[in-house]
């Protein structure tokens, strides 16, 4: 399995994201150089659900930040689809501080709409629809500190969906919630993706999560991060963790990652 699928390049207008030999090096305060990414190549078609899995500190977040335009690569280039515009239809869901603490759940979900000048009444009704969609009806007026970790991530996803993203970047969004909540959130996200079909780039260090969610799982090597392996997951959704294919995949990826650790 080659990490690059440039060979079977789809029609240009269907490409959501093209990353071409991108490298990024950081300089620590003590003057040490840390190469986060080296020669990363990736082609993402519109509507794909990509999960990126790798050990902590392998440059996954750096890659997302580059895609989001929050940082620039030292080498190589990134190109997003013609229909993608930052601050318009590219949304980013973080692991922490995903919501504005001074806004209610409703206010948080409505934020993007408010910035676009959508009238108050309209954005309120759209935001409460979205909150209902992520299972947070009745929590419209709750502040983030009044919500549980799982509820906060639900609200954060609703907040991102409010701007009707064509590309959704997610940086370990379920990293801080307990296992059963995590499964619920994964299922919800799968359903949302099936309904709206945005392109999703989902970063996680949880192998199970990567297989449950992704249409393709990309395994990143440790520092410098590059795409070491790619697995196409054809298992039907919602995915059953108890199947042989699932566990085989899990073991393969597990082995890849533990080789890195040695």
């Amino acid at each position: 399995m080659k990490p690059d699928n440039v060979n079977k390049r789809p029609a240009e207008n269907l490409i959501a994201l093209e990353i071409h030999s991108v490298s990024k090096t950081f300089h620590s305060d003590s003057g040490r150089k840390v190469q986060a990414l080296e020669g990363v190549n990736l082609l993402v078609r519109q509507g794909e659900f990509i999960t990126l899995v790798g050990a902590t500190g392998c440059g996954k977040t750096t890659l997302l930040n580059l895609v989001a335009g929050l940082d620039t690569p030292d080498d190589g280039y990134l190109r997003v689809g013609n229909n993608l515009r930052f601050g318009d239809n590219v949304a980013y869901v973080f692991q922490h501080y995903t919501l504005f603490p001074w806004r209610s759940a409703l206010g948080n979900v409505a934020f993007g709409l408010q910035m676009r000048g959508v009238p108050r009444k309209q954005r309120k009704s759209r935001a409460s629809d979205l909150l209902a969609r992520v299972g947070l009806s009745g929590f419209e007026n709750a502040y983030p500190y009044e919500l549980s970790g799982g509820m906060r991530q639900r609200a954060a996803i609703a907040q991102a969906l409010a701007i009707q993203p064509k590309l959704l970047l997610m940086d370990e969004p379920f990293g801080a919630v307990d296992d059963s909540t995590r499964s619920e959130l994964q299922q919800m996200l799968t359903e949302l993706w099936q309904d709206h079909l945005p392109t999703i780039l989902f970063v996680t260090h949880n192998i199970d999560e990567a297989i449950v969610l992704g249409g393709r799982v990309l395994v990143l090597s440790e520092r410098p991060g590059k795409i070491e392996h790619e697995f196409k997951i054809d298992l039907p959704r919602p995915r059953n963790r108890m199947t042989k294919e699932f566990t085989n995949l899990f073991i393969k990826i597990r082995q890849l990652l533990s080789v890195q650790l040695d």
Partner: protein
């Protein structure tokens, strides 16, 4: 252990009640007895004569006005000086705090001027503004209203007193905004102006209100001190000085009580605003 707790809270309520009733009453009683015993009201007046003064807030004390009129003058001065300080301090703090380069350039001068006691500005303020009043600023010599007592020099000194805590707290609040919130707003499509209004401002709000609270307290300190200086001819601080010069210690103590109560009320109001307005403070997740 379980039953202990409500009992504990109960005793807390009792001690609070004692603090607000029995302790002050005892002190007042001791004061009354001691003053009667001493019998030198020009130094140590009895409680009753202070209460008598407080019960007649409209009584004119020669040319210096009444307790009430002078209190109102002081409050009006503070209100105006503080409003100016709040407007300037919050605006400048937001601006300075959100732009790193501006912060680097401006902060040293703030740090030098901040520790300077606002009262030290008074001679300078009087020299610059003479004894010009607010109506005179717009060309009216005497308006025959309370505004004739609003000297620009006084306003300036109150402004200085309130400005520094407000600007430094706002600045710190803005500079301490989590980068994540800025990124989040950016990805959700906020423009620079919107980020200022919808991220920097609300995120810094707890610090801004803390600054306003400190600033208002300091303004009230400063005005009393300024009014006690020579050259002043009105305000509760002035009345206090005037009464002292005339050995009317009952008025002095009445004025002190008024100053203390108003200071406490201002502080209480600001902390209530803080509680209601930024309930999320310290609960970031």
């Amino acid at each position: 252990m379980h039953k202990e707790e409500p009992k504990n809270r109960n005793s807390r309520n009792w001690s609070k009640l004692l603090g607000w009733t029995a302790v002050p009453i005892t002190l007042l009683l001791i004061w009354q007895i001691a003053a009667k015993h001493l019998n030198q009201p020009w130094i140590f007046p009895p409680v009753t004569s202070v209460i008598e003064q407080l019960a007649h807030p409209l009584r004119e004390h020669y040319a210096s006005g009444s307790l009430l009129s002078n209190t109102l003058i002081s409050l009006l001065r503070v209100l105006m000086g503080f409003s100016l300080a709040a407007a300037a301090g919050v605006t400048l703090g937001l601006f300075i705090g959100s732009i790193r380069i501006v912060r680097d350039i401006i902060e040293p001068i703030i740090e030098v001027l901040r520790p300077l006691c606002p009262i030290a500005w008074l001679p300078f303020a009087i020299a610059v503004f003479k004894l010009k009043t607010l109506p005179q600023l717009v060309g009216v010599r005497y308006s025959n209203t309370i505004f004739d007592q609003i000297q620009l020099g006084m306003i300036f000194v109150i402004f200085v007193g309130g400005f520094f805590p407000i600007v430094t707290n706002t600045l710190d609040g803005v500079a301490g905004v989590r980068r994540n919130y800025l990124l989040l707003a950016q990805t959700l499509g906020a423009t620079r102006r919107q980020i200022f209004l919808h991220v920097y401002l609300p995120a810094a709000m707890p610090m801004i209100i803390t600054g306003l609270r400190q600033g208002l307290g300091l303004c009230w300190f400063v005005i009393i001190a300024a009014e006690m200086m020579t050259g002043s001819d009105s305000g509760i601080g002035y009345l206090l000085m005037y009464a002292s010069d005339n050995s009317a210690m009952d008025i002095v103590i009445a004025a002190m009580l008024i100053i203390g109560v108003i200071g406490a009320l201002l502080n209480f109001t600001m902390s209530r605003i803080m509680l209601n307005f930024v309930s999320w403070q310290g609960k970031e997740v």
